[in-house]
């Protein structure tokens, strides 16, 4: 399997720089209000990463990120007539996302009849607390660029593991089979990769701090 690393075409999302500024966004909103729906599509594409970053920093699951981000943009469109053109559209959409997220997390936190639900509830409750106290800052635009720099510092085998686990979402049992390791060994390696990437991202993408190899 290690030999296969060179053949892998890493397919994680690349950072892009196509952001509108606040004035351009308000101009797009004027076009939407004038009936031009295509302009809203552009706004969604422009703001997706920012809103998604905010939601992902507070959500209790990936599935919840998808659903909340989508619902926030739909709700924002429905309420667009109440938006004041003050260059704060991103914050405004995030406000809808925050409310939707809070409601969903609160619902999930209440389900505690099985051990699995207790664990889910624990994750939701922690996320809810973070959301209430704003403990996790909004993820910045350069976040993805930082991650990209940090990924480059990983060994090929660790990069392959990232590809399998975080890009393709392959379950740990299958990764263990592919890498001919125990589940515990893969879990340990993934934890170290996550920790290394976290340290690297926190250090503004300074890849020198990363020290992850997977035997």
């Amino acid at each position: 399997m290690p030999n296969a690393c060179d053949e892998v075409r890493y397919s994680w999302r690349q950072p892009v720089n196509t952001a509108m500024d606040a004035a351009q966004r308000d101009a797009a909103i004027r076009r939407v209000m004038a009936g031009e729906r295509e302009a809203y599509r552009l706004l969604v594409e422009d703001l997706e990463r920012e809103v998604r970053g905010f939601v992902a920093a507070h959500a209790s699951s990936l599935e919840l990120v998808d659903e909340v981000v989508q619902a926030a943009f739909v709700e924002a469109y429905r309420q667009l007539h109440t938006y004041e053109l003050r260059g704060t559209f991103a914050s405004w959409v995030k406000g809808f996302a925050r409310n939707l997220l809070r409601r969903e997390l609160a619902q999930r936190a209440r389900l505690v009849s099985t051990d699995q639900e207790v664990l889910d509830s624990m994750v939701s409750t922690a996320a809810l607390d973070d959301l209430a106290e704003e403990r996790v800052a909004d993820q910045k635009r350069e976040d993805l660029a930082r991650i990209e720099r940090c990924l480059a510092a990983l060994t090929p085998r660790a990069r392959l593991m990232v590809q399998r686990r975080f890009v393709e979402q392959v379950p740990i049992n299958r990764i263990a089979q592919q890498f001919k390791k125990t589940r515990a060994a893969i879990a340990n390696a993934l934890t170290r990769i996550r920790a290394g990437l976290r340290t690297c991202v926190d250090a503004s993408g300074d890849a020198h701090v990363i020290d992850v190899d997977v035997a």
């Binding site: 994680w12 599935e63 619902q107 607390d129 515990a184 976290r198």
Partner: protein, 603 residues
């Protein structure tokens, strides 16, 4: 990096959790690990969070978000009802319990096209429905809750977790949990469990009407436009609301209104006299046609209720634990109250307190040196060492309660200690336990190691059958609430058991007291059992001992002659305490207060 075996195991379980692939046993193991060790808990949460973050940043997407949003908006462009159908469909998927599920994501990616088709099909289905289903009235409000129904004409819809629009004439019934009604102006009304109400747009005016048929509600009403008030009606009264917070409850004696903020115009449905009820006051529209503002109760002399010091604890009488136990100390005359006492009481007392008389009532068994020892086959939790090797003295036929905790208490009079057993299960003659610990009769009432609710003792604060029979409870009571606060606890609790945050939530260990100036003899309809409990709540109060599925549930002894939820035993029934979790509806729960500390001191 070198992890302990426990940490390594945690990491392995975390990955399976993220895959939504934990077996029941693994889920229990992971839960135990993270519950027992705050460091492991923090690690669990950190790994989950960072997995979500990395995955969200890196994974490949199925249908672009802009296209998904477009699809919903496309539908909205055709007809709002269709868009609602699509959004509801998405919301339904969203609200189902989904863990950090790579399985779900893979399925979603593979099923990207089918989902798209499904969304389109939802639209087409909704279009089809519009052809055959008559247009319903415009929505007046939305209702949130997962236990209840909406009656619309001849149709009854069972609520799930989705928000549902309510139209003119819809009847909502809360069944087992509160329902939240939300009006477009921001007004919210919580219909308490067991409550039923019809929603109406005003006839001939823009007023909104809510007909309360049974139960109670808590309303937080936004400032209303002139001529467009919210009117709450009951068989005995109309409350016209211009913007306030208040509670309405239909009781056996009539309709009680308690105003927390603002003012309410209160009248009988037939018209006539209108009384204004200001904040902090209550009024009663009686079934006998009376309408009266309830005068503040004059203070009574506290000395009237000199605490009764009972005989020593024995199989026939007395109370457990030393006199200086937190459970046995009388609350001082002027205790220092918690700064958030008022919001806490508003939350806690949004429904009457209830008694756990059957499912979660505790069976007590007297044992002594003559009771044969029974070996314990297995203990699932870590404190196996606290169970004697020789086993426990258990009478033949002793059974735990039927509630989720399957608990039982053995009163060992030869050792003068109580064994408190949790998650007890008989497998043939084999005894399996979730955990077990003892508390000494003559100690402070705090078990070491912990045993019962949130580390406290099951016996501490337990309402006994014989106390109801005697009409005196010489100790504080114990209650659980679903509004318990996360992350904090107060003495005598030993750990937290909360899930919620917010100033109105109740820390485990918090001591509450019923206003001691209340003249219980002047409260109409108070049953003998309620009176006994109310008096104990004035003298000793009650401790929050943990989370409960109910808003406000006091823990009681399971009567030996209890047979089912409707027959909790002759003594309870004879004193007006009928049925499992039946509300104590005559006690004025809005007169509770929360102490800052258990002993009433400031620090």
């Amino acid at each position: 990096m070198s992890d302990s075996p426990q940490e390594s195991r945690l990491l392995e379980l975390v990955e399976s959790y993220l895959d939504d692939d934990l077996t029941d046993g693994e889920a229990r193991e992971l839960r135990t690990l993270v519950k027992r060790d705050p460091v492991l808990r923090e690690r669990f949460l950190t790994e989950v969070r960072w997995h979500i973050h990395l995955s969200d940043r890196l994974r490949t997407q199925g249908i672009p978000l802009s296209e998904r949003v477009d699809a919903v908006l496309d539908a909205e462009g055709r007809a709002p009802h269709i868009a609602d159908a699509v959004v509801a469909s998405i919301a339904a998927r969203s609200s189902r319990r989904n863990k950090i599920s790579t399985r779900f994501l893979r399925r979603k990616r593979r099923a990207a096209a089918p989902w798209w088709i499904a969304a389109a099909a939802s639209v087409l289905l909704a279009v089809g429905l519009l052809v055959v289903v008559p247009e319903r009235s415009p929505a007046i409000a939305t209702v949130l809750g997962d236990r209840g129904t909406i009656e619309r004409g001849d149709t009854t819809l069972r609520l799930d977790e989705r928000a549902q629009h309510l139209a003119d004439g819809d009847v909502v019934a809360a069944d087992g949990a509160d329902l939240l009604l939300r009006f477009p102006d921001g007004t919210t009304v919580e219909i308490s469990s067991g409550g039923r109400a019809r929603i109406q747009s005003g006839v001939g005016s823009k007023a909104k009407r809510l007909e309360l048929h049974r139960g109670g509600l808590l309303a937080r009403v936004a400032k209303q436009k002139p001529g467009e008030p919210l009117v709450i009606t009951t068989p005995q009264a109309n409350a016209t609301v211009l913007g306030t917070t208040f509670r309405v409850r239909i009781e056996t004696s009539g309709t009680r209104l308690v105003v927390d903020e603002g003012r309410i115009a209160f009248a009988r449905p037939s018209g006539g006299e209108v009384i204004e009820v200001p904040a902090g006051r209550s009024a009663l529209a009686g079934i006998d046609g009376t309408l009266a503002l309830i005068e503040p109760v004059k203070p009574v002399v506290l000395a009237k209720r000199t605490p009764w010091i009972p005989e020593p604890f024995s199989p026939t009488g007395g109370r457990p634990f030393a006199d200086d136990s937190p459970y046995n100390q009388v609350i001082p005359a002027k205790p220092v109250l918690d700064a958030q006492s008022s919001p806490m009481v508003n939350r806690l007392a949004s429904q009457p307190g209830k008694l756990a008389l059957f499912r979660h009532a505790l069976p007590l068994y007297d044992v002594d040196a003559s009771t044969p020892l029974h070996p314990v086959t297995a203990v699932r939790r870590a404190n196996r060492s606290s169970i004697p090797e020789a086993g426990l003295r258990i009478p033949v036929g002793a059974m735990p309660n039927t509630g989720t905790n399957r608990a039982m208490v053995l009163l060992d009079w030869s050792e003068r200690r109580a064994w408190e057993l949790y998650q007890l299960e008989w497998k043939g003659a084999d005894l399996h336990l979730g955990s077990g610990a003892f508390v000494r009769f003559d100690g402070d009432g705090i078990p070491r190691p912990s045993s019962g609710y949130a580390g406290g003792s099951y016996l501490a604060g337990l309402l006994r059958v014989r106390e109801i029979a005697q009409g005196r409870i010489p100790h504080a009571l114990a209650f659980g609430t679903k509004f318990s606060r996360k992350g904090v606890w107060r003495h005598p609790a030993q750990q937290t058991d909360g899930k919620l945050t917010g100033e109105e939530t109740i820390p485990v260990g918090a001591r509450i007291q019923l206003d001691p100036t209340l003249d219980l003899d002047a409260i109409p309809g108070l049953t003998p059992g309620e009176r006994t409990i109310a008096e104990a709540l004035q003298i000793y109060g009650a401790y929050c001992v943990g989370a409960s599925g109910e808003p406000f549930l006091f823990f009681c002894e399971l009567a030996p002659d209890a047979t089912d939820v409707n027959n909790p035993g002759a003594v309870y029934s004879a004193n007006g305490l009928t049925g499992d979790a039946a509300p104590l509806s005559h006690i004025p729960w809005d007169r509770l207060r929360v102490l800052k500390q258990w002993d009433g001191a400031a620090e």
